[in-house]
């Protein structure tokens, strides 16, 4: 294969008090797809910021060579002029502008300050064709899905004559179908001679698109593996990332033995919810399910299957318009019309989107943990700060939240540690039923294991756990029973013994076309 297009040699980057990168060397060959793997906080994003000029030349040590020339980028613009374009995890599109306007934002086809719309549309159409996006260039970005927005970002990169495309967790927010499309596009671009660097947590994706993978751990490059080589297994990559062999990705757990005769901790009957805006669309359609104490019950489904919508509408009607159904707790019907009622009945919902719905990022760890159950550390409406602090210290130790003090703003923590704070907060509320929505999304392998262990302990303490996840292996590893959903309906119930990825996937894709 061809020689290196990019060499980063012994990169060291320090922030006040922290050494983010202590010694990273990365070599990317011309025309390959190069994956970068590592736990959260390992330094992947920092490395890419060095490469793209976010951290300008001079603020780091070591050399960056692109096409055999030393790079001295002072900002992102400089790196883009050389053909290095980075697409961030959070998309940088303006929702109320059209696709075409977004494509050429800051780079408009214009003469004397006036935009040439003919040329803009022509070029936009051409770029959209290259990324395989069948949308009119004048469509508003807000009106297309996240998957398509991702394609617009790539088209934008192509408009800048990209030679090296950097994608930071490009599929984190996408469903399987969109992910596949995106990965195919990366391979297609590779055929056109564009080199890509892809940061990803999803090992199966890396296996699908990447030629080689560099593993970064604690700010050091550990090794670069040839993905196509037979000895590069997923276990092998994980071992490199965590620095230990990970025989067991899930804690050992003995399947739950249901108590005879006892009513389920939570039972949902005939639950139906309409879409909040589109009043005709049933988002959750006649769903009934049960969860017993000590049991972990999974809910599997593709994007848009209605899992989060089900959970949120049960939890204080925080989603959509309620259209029918009852909730029973230990055999008695309960009201869950508001969040306070749901919490009062011992139900907790741990959101899939911790940054927007789970945490007050500018507030401290201790105050985030105590918020849902302030009454427990308060007397007559007055919070006992010392007790609150002690509670938070307890969780910091038991949950292994990595932070100097409990007064640290949660916004400064890594994803895994933030997730631990969200879990602590809901465990502190002392619920009987925990609904966990994608509790391990976007967090690294080591933290995942810790969170699995916590979930397992919760079940062992007799709590009923509903585990919503898009990652089938984790459902298979953790759950006693797994429900599947598709297009708002419950399409299957699979006991642990019979559950395989294939069985679940078959249920998850069932009825999809029929119900419309």
């Amino acid at each position: 294969m061809a020689g290196p297009v990019l060499e980063m040699r012994s990169i060291v980057k320090t922030f006040p008090g922290v050494k983010a990168l202590s010694d990273v060397t990365l070599t990317v060959r011309q025309g390959e797809v190069h994956a970068i793997c590592g736990e959260n906080g390992a330094g992947k994003s920092t490395l890419m910021k060095v490469l793209s000029g976010v951290h300008p030349y001079g603020s780091y040590e070591g050399d960056v060579l692109f096409e055999s020339e030393t790079c001295r980028f002072k900002d992102i613009r400089a790196s883009e002029q050389h053909g290095i374009v980075i697409i961030h995890q959070e998309l940088a599109l303006v929702p109320h502008l059209s696709i075409a306007e977004n494509l050429f934002l800051g780079n408009e086809h214009a003469a004397r300050g006036l935009i040439n719309w003919r040329e803009t549309l022509r070029h936009a159409t051409e770029l959209l064709r290259r990324v395989g996006l069948a949308e009119h260039p004048e469509t508003r970005v807000a009106d297309i899905g996240v998957g398509k927005q991702q394609l617009v970002e790539i088209a934008k990169a192509l408009s800048k004559q990209v030679k090296l495309l950097i994608l930071d967790e490009p599929t984190a927010a996408l469903n399987d179908e969109d992910s596949d499309k995106l990965l195919d596009l990366i391979l297609e671009l590779k055929n056109q001679g564009i080199t890509s660097i892809i940061i990803s947590h999803k090992l199966n994706e890396i296996r699908k698109v990447a030629d080689s993978v560099t593993i970064i751990r604690d700010g050091r490059s550990i090794e670069t593996l040839d993905v196509k080589a037979p000895e590069t297994t997923e276990e092998r990559i994980i071992a490199g990332m965590v620095g230990r062999d990970l025989d067991h990705r899930f804690p050992e757990r003995s399947p739950h033995q249901p108590e005879e005769g006892a009513a389920p901790a939570l039972e949902i009957r005939g639950w139906t919810v309409f879409h909040p805006i589109d009043q005709q669309r049933k988002v959750v359609d006649d769903v009934s399910l049960t969860v017993r104490r000590g049991e972990i019950v999974g809910i599997a489904g593709l994007m848009g299957a209605g899992r989060t919508e089900l959970a949120m509408s049960v939890f204080g009607r925080t989603y959509g318009r309620y259209a029918g159904g009852t909730v029973l707790k230990d055999g008695t019907e309960i009201r869950t019309k508001t969040v306070a009622e749901a919490i009062g009945h011992g139900i907790a919902y741990v959101t899939e989107d911790r940054k927007h719905y789970g945490l007050n990022l500018i507030d401290s760890i201790n105050r985030n943990i105590s918020l849902t159950a302030l009454g427990k550390v308060a007397k007559r409406g007055v919070v006992d700060e010392h007790e609150e602090r002690q509670v938070a210290e307890g969780f910091r130790k038991s949950m292994n939240i990595k932070a100097p003090t409990v007064f640290e703003p949660v916004g400064k923590l890594s994803g895994g540690n933030q997730q631990k704070v969200v879990l602590s907060k809901w465990i502190f509320a002392g619920p009987d039923v925990l609904i966990l929505d994608e509790p391990t999304r976007g967090i690294d392998v080591g933290a995942k294991y810790e969170i699995y262990t916590v979930i397992d302990q919760l079940a062992a303490q007799g709590k009923a756990v509903v585990f919503i996840s898009s990652e089938l292996p984790e459902l298979l590893g953790m759950c006693d029973r797994i429900y599947t959903m598709a297009a708002g309906r419950l399409t299957g119930e699979v006991p642990r013994a019979e559950a395989t990825q294939e069985v679940l996937m078959r249920h998850m894709t069932k009825d999809k076309e029929v119900t419309r």
Binding site: V339, I343, T351, L361, I362, D363, T372, V382, E385, F407
Partner: protein
């Protein structure tokens, strides 16, 4: 008196854990503490600098007992408004109506007492009720009907200004009965033997010092009880000394003139009370939660609408109180009273560390911000700077304060 709460202000990040970072000397400890609470202490230091500068420029006139007393009286109503405004801003809203509302309540008080001869205590209660009603109507529209607070209170600003003029028929109305006048100009009565100082004020100061010391020691003991990290002994003593000294100086200054103004005592009670609520009460926590991340607060079971409603109701009550103080101080209700008060209160909050996006700020910060503006006002008056330049300088002060904050955050953030 407001210094009392300094005891509590640094507590959002009591030193611990990362404490030993900056060396072992006392100075190192102090610096480390400062660095962690740049936002809190930055403005306090700035306030101190402004006071020292103006004291020098005015040849000490700024710190004459009479002037200090005056300074308190002049700024009391803005400070009262700033407390309420801080809560509104922390909750992620804004209130533009408070200036007009103070004028309206002043007019209402004048109509009651001057025209209809209602007894002043009854009139005061009625005024507070009017403020509460005005606040709760606006709060209802904002919280339950979801109309943006900027719009609702902009409408309120026009509406109350108009109602004030209607009520007063464009005239100035006064004078007020003695009891109400005391609210704006009164001092604590003198009692006991003749000394060179005002006895009750001295007594009050001593009680305050005792309370501060007791509170600090209790806090420390509680922290040790829960086996949490405490401030190093030397730093603790330094902090205690500074606090006691501050209270003592203010007490002596006031006691050597006419004593503590009544409005200062009210203000002190408000600062202590609201500071306590915002830090320790469930209600206060919920205000921070909805301002910091509304969806997350909702999903945590916080009754966001109710909290928002009460924040505006509270603002209405405080605006009514401020309105009475202003009217009492001028000894007349005027249709032009309270112009730009909302902007002064908002500026105080932002100088004192509030954030446009909500979720951040302290009651003490609002007071410090208000005092920065107040001392600038007073100092420039003493130097006979024209109101034209005063406005320019106050505008710059707001820019510099918030600019420093943004710069400081960026430096520590990335």
């Amino acid at each position: 008196m407001s210094t009392d709460v300094t005891a509590k202000s640094p507590a959002p990040a009591p030193p611990g854990g990362s404490g030993p970072a900056a060396g072992t000397g006392l100075l190192g400890l102090v610096l480390a503490g400062l660095r962690r609470n740049m936002r809190q202490y930055g403005m306090l230091i700035a306030l101190g600098l402004i006071v020292v500068l103006f004291a020098i420029w005015t040849d000490g006139d700024l710190l004459l007992p009479r002037n200090v007393s005056n300074l308190v009286l002049q700024n009391s109503y803005i400070l009262i408004l700033a407390i309420g405004m801080m809560l509104v801003i922390i909750a992620g809203h804004i209130d533009l109506s408070v200036g007009s509302l103070t004028a309206f309540v002043g007019a209402f008080a004048a109509v009651l007492t001057v025209q209809h001869g209602v007894a002043w205590p009854v009139a005061m209660v009625l005024c507070l009720v009017v403020g509460a009603v005005a606040g709760s109507v606006q709060g209802y529209l904002i919280a339950y009907l979801g109309i943006p607070s900027f719009i609702v209170t902009l409408a309120g600003m026009l509406l109350f200004r108009g109602l004030t003029e209607i009520l007063l028929k464009g005239q100035t109305l006064g004078p007020f009965p003695d009891g109400l006048q005391k609210l704006g100009n009164g001092f604590l009565p003198e009692a006991g033997p003749h000394t060179n100082y005002h006895n009750l004020t001295l007594l009050l100061g001593l009680v305050l010092i005792a309370a501060v010391v007791w509170q600090e020691f209790r806090d420390r003991r509680r922290q040790q009880e829960f086996s949490l990290d405490v401030l190093p002994v030397r730093l603790f003593l330094l902090k205690l000394t500074a606090l006691v000294a501050a209270v003592l100086v203010l007490t002596l200054l006031l006691a050597s003139y006419k004593g503590a103004p009544i409005v200062l005592i009210i203000l002190g009670a408000l600062v202590v009370g609201y500071g306590y609520i915002m830090r320790n009460a469930v209600f206060g926590r919920h205000i921070y939660a909805i301002g910091g991340n509304l969806p997350a607060a909702k999903l945590s079971g916080v009754k966001d609408k109710k909290v928002t409603f009460y924040v505006f109701l509270n603002m209405g009550v405080l605006a009514a109180l401020a309105g009475m103080v202003v009217a009492a101080r001028l000894n007349a209700a005027s249709p032009k009273a309270g112009v730009n008060f909302e902007l002064e209160a908002i500026a105080s909050s932002f100088i004192g560390g509030a954030s446009m996006s909500g979720g951040v700020g302290t009651v003490l910060g609002a007071i410090i911000g208000g005092l920065v503006l107040g001392v600038l006002n007073n100092g420039m008056n003493l130097l006979s700077v024209g109101t034209d330049w005063q406005q320019v300088i106050k505008g710059l002060a707001l820019l510099v304060a918030v600019g420093f904050d943004v710069w400081n955050k960026r430096k520590s953030g990335s």
